[in-house]
Amino acid sequence: MSLDAVVTAIQQVGLTLIVIAIAVAALEGVLYLLLVRGLKTRLATPLMLVAPAFVGLAILIVYPLLWELNVSFTNMSLRNFRDPGFLGLENGMFVGLDNYVEVFTRPVLQLTTFWQLLLQTVLWTVINVTLHVAGGMALALLLHRQMRGKGIYRALIILPWAIPQVIALLIWRTEYNNEYGAANQLLRMAGFDGVPWLSDPFWNFIAMIITNVWLGIPFMMVIILGGLSSISSEYYEAAEMDGANSRQSFRAITLPLLRPVLTPAIILGTVWTFNNINVPFFINQNELETSDILVTALFRMAFQYNRYGDAAAFAFVIFIILLVFTVFYVRRTGSLRGAYE
C-alpha cells in the first residue's frame, strides 16, 4: 500500500465532501433568499430542511430514471454508443416501442423468454420468502423463552446476516464446487452421489435458494422476536386459564398480534428477494442463462451484452410488475396506515 494511493483516496473523498458542502450551501442560500426574504412564507423551514435530500434524489434517482426511460425508446448499444438526445429522434436512434415489444416476443438474452424468467423469479421469491418466514418464526418461537445461552444462540444465528454478503457468497460458491465443496462432500458421506451444483440449471437454482434461505432467515427471526416480545404475557395467561393449548393460543394470540410487524416485513422481504441481484449473480458462476432471474438477466443484458436500449425497456417492465404487486398488497393489508400521521 503506497503513500500515493492513500493520498489519492483521501483527496478524492475529501474533494467529494467539499463539493457536496458547497452544493448544499448554495442550495440553502438560494432557498433562503427565495422563501424567507422573497415570499416570506412560514413553510420556509421545512422546505429548506428537506431540500438537500430531495435535490439529491432528483439528481441521482429521478433524472437517471427519466434518462433511462428516454434510452428505452432508442437502439443504444455498444455498437451504437452515443448520446441519443431526446428519444433519439434527431440522430435516427428512435425505435418507438420496439424494445418493449421485444421483451415479450424475443428471448431475453439468448435462450430464455421473458415468461420463463418471470416464472423463475416468482418461484424464487415465493419459495425464499416462505422459507424465511417459516424458519424465522420457528427459531424465534424457540428462542423466546427464559433459557441458558439465549444470547449466544442469538448472536450465532444472526451471523449469516452479519458477515459481508460478497464474502458469504464467495464462500458458498466454493462450497458448491463439484469435488472439494462441502455440499458434495456431505452428500457423499451420507452415501449419495455428488450433484452438479454449478453447472446444471436446476441444481444451480436449488443452490441459489439454499444460499439465500441461509442468508435471509436471521432477519425474519430478529423481526419476529421483536414482535413476540411486545405481546403481553397476560394474553397467554388468560388463554391458559380458559384451557387453550399452545397451538390454539399460537393461532388466536401470537399470529394476529404479530401481523402489524410481519406484514411490512413480508412486503419488504418480497421486494428484496425479487430484486436480489447478489445471490443469483454470485452463485450462478457459470452464467447459466436458464437459472437467471429477471434482475440478473437485466444486469447481463446491460453489462455483458451491452444492449442498453433493450435493457432500459426491460428494466421498466420489471419495475412496473413490482409496483403493481406492492400497491395491491399494501392496499389490501393496509399495512402502512398510521405511518403518515
Binding site: 473523498v13 467529494t16 434518462w67 424457540l142 444472526i158 451471523l159 414482535g227 428484496w272 402502512l336 405511518a339
Partner: protein, 303 residues
C-alpha cells in the same frame, strides 16, 4: 444501493421495550425433555449458521500444501498463520480496505446529515407535498439496483465521473437516504414534542430546539442509521464494479474477486482476507444488534 445488501436497521423503539418483557409464553416452565429438544434444535441452527465461517477459518489456517484436503477439522494439521501475514504484507488488501473505509465513512456521514434534517421536517412540520414525499421515498425502495446501474453507468461515462469517488460517495449516500429518513422519522415521532416546546418557551429557536433537544435524545437512532449506511456502503459491490476500474481505486469486494481470479489455487489467501474483512464488521453488527430489532416495521407497528 437498495436491496438486501443494505442492512435494515433498527428500531430502537421496540428494542427497549422488548429487553424488559421477556416473558414465558404460556407462563410455565418447559419440561426437561422439551428443553433438551429445544437446545438441540438451536445448536443445530447455530452450526448451520456458522458452518461456512468455520470452514473458511479452517482453510485460512491450512498450510499451502494441503489446500484441497477434504477433511472437516476446525484446526487443520500443521496449522499456520502464514496466509494472514501474506495477504497483509504482500498483496493490495490493505489498500482495498483503506479505500473502502474512506468511501464508506464519507458516505455514512453525508447520508446521516441529510437524513437527520429531512426526517425532522417530516416529523414536526405540516407542509404541502409531505404525504407525496413520504410515499416517493418508499417507492424508491422498489427500484431494482440493476435498473439504476444502467443509467448511472452511462451518465458517469458521459460526465467523466467513472473512476472517481465523487460519483460513488454521492450515489451511495443518496440511495441510503430514503430508508434512513423513514427510520429517523419513526424515532422522532416517539419523542414528545412538548420537550421542544418547553425549550422554545425558554428562548430557543426552532433549529436550536432540534439541535439541543431532539438530536441528543435520538442518539440511538442516529447511531443505527449511521451503521446502516456504513454497512450498506461497505458491502456495495455492483456500483463499484461499474464505476471503478483503476487499480489504486479498487474497494475490497472488487479486490477480493481479482484475488480469486489471479491466484487460482491460493484458497488460504482468499480465506484469510475474508476473515480479516469480516471480523470488524461482524463485531460492529453484533454490538449494534441490540437496536436492530425492527426499524423497517416501525411505521407499521405504530399504526
Amino acid at each position: 444501493m437498495s436491496g438486501p445488501t443494505s442492512v435494515p436497521a433498527p428500531a430502537v423503539t421496540a428494542a427497549a421495550r422488548s429487553a424488559r418483557a421477556t416473558h414465558q409464553p404460556g407462563g410455565r416452565r418447559d419440561s426437561r425433555p422439551k428443553r433438551i429438544v429445544i437446545h438441540g434444535i438451536l445448536i443445530l441452527a447455530c452450526v448451520i449458521a456458522a458452518f461456512p465461517i468455520i470452514r473458511v477459518l479452517s482453510v485460512a489456517l491450512r498450510p499451502g500444501n494441503r489446500l484441497l484436503d477434504s477433511e472437516f477439522k476446525l484446526i487443520p494439521e500443521g496449522a499456520t498463520l502464514n496466509a494472514f501475514v501474506h495477504v497483509l504484507t504482500e498483496t493490495d488488501l490493505p489498500l482495498w480496505l483503506f479505500n473502502s473505509l474512506v468511501i464508506t465513512t464519507g458516505t455514512a456521514i453525508v447520508g446521516l446529515l441529510v437524513a437527520a434534517t429531512s426526517a425532522y421536517a417530516f416529523s414536526r412540520f405540516k407542509f404541502p407535498g409531505r404525504g407525496v414525499g413520504l410515499t416517493a421515498l418508499l417507492a424508491t425502495q422498489l427500484i431494482p439496483a440493476a435498473m439504476l446501474l444502467v443509467p448511472l453507468y452511462l451518465l458517469a461515462v458521459q460526465f467523466k465521473l467513472a473512476n472517481s469517488y465523487v460519483g460513488m460517495v454521492i450515489a451511495l449516500s443518496v440511495t441510503a437516504v430514503p430508508f434512513s429518513i423513514w427510520i429517523l422519522k419513526g424515532y422522532y415521532d416517539t419523542v414528545p414534542i412538548e420537550l421542544e416546546e418547553a425549550a422554545r418557551i425558554d428562548g430557543c429557536s426552532q433549529l436550536e430546539a432540534f439541535w439541543r433537544i431532539l438530536l441528543p435524545l435520538s442518539t440511538p437512532a442516529l447511531v443505527v442509521v449511521f451503521l446502516f449506511n456504513f454497512l450498506a456502503a461497505w458491502n456495495d459491490y455492483f456500483l463499484a464494479r461499474i464505476l471503478l476500474s483503476k487499480e489504486e481505486l479498487l474497494t475490497w469486494p472488487l479486490g477480493l474477486q481479482r484475488f480469486q481470479a489471479q491466484f487460482q489455487a491460493q484458497w488460504n489467501d482468499l480465506a484469510a482476507a475474508s476473515i480479516l474483512i469480516s471480523v470488524p464488521v461482524v463485531l460492529l453488527f453484533l454490538y449494534s444488534s441490540k437496536w436492530l430489532v425492527s426499524g423497517v416495521t416501525a411505521g407499521g407497528v405504530k399504526g
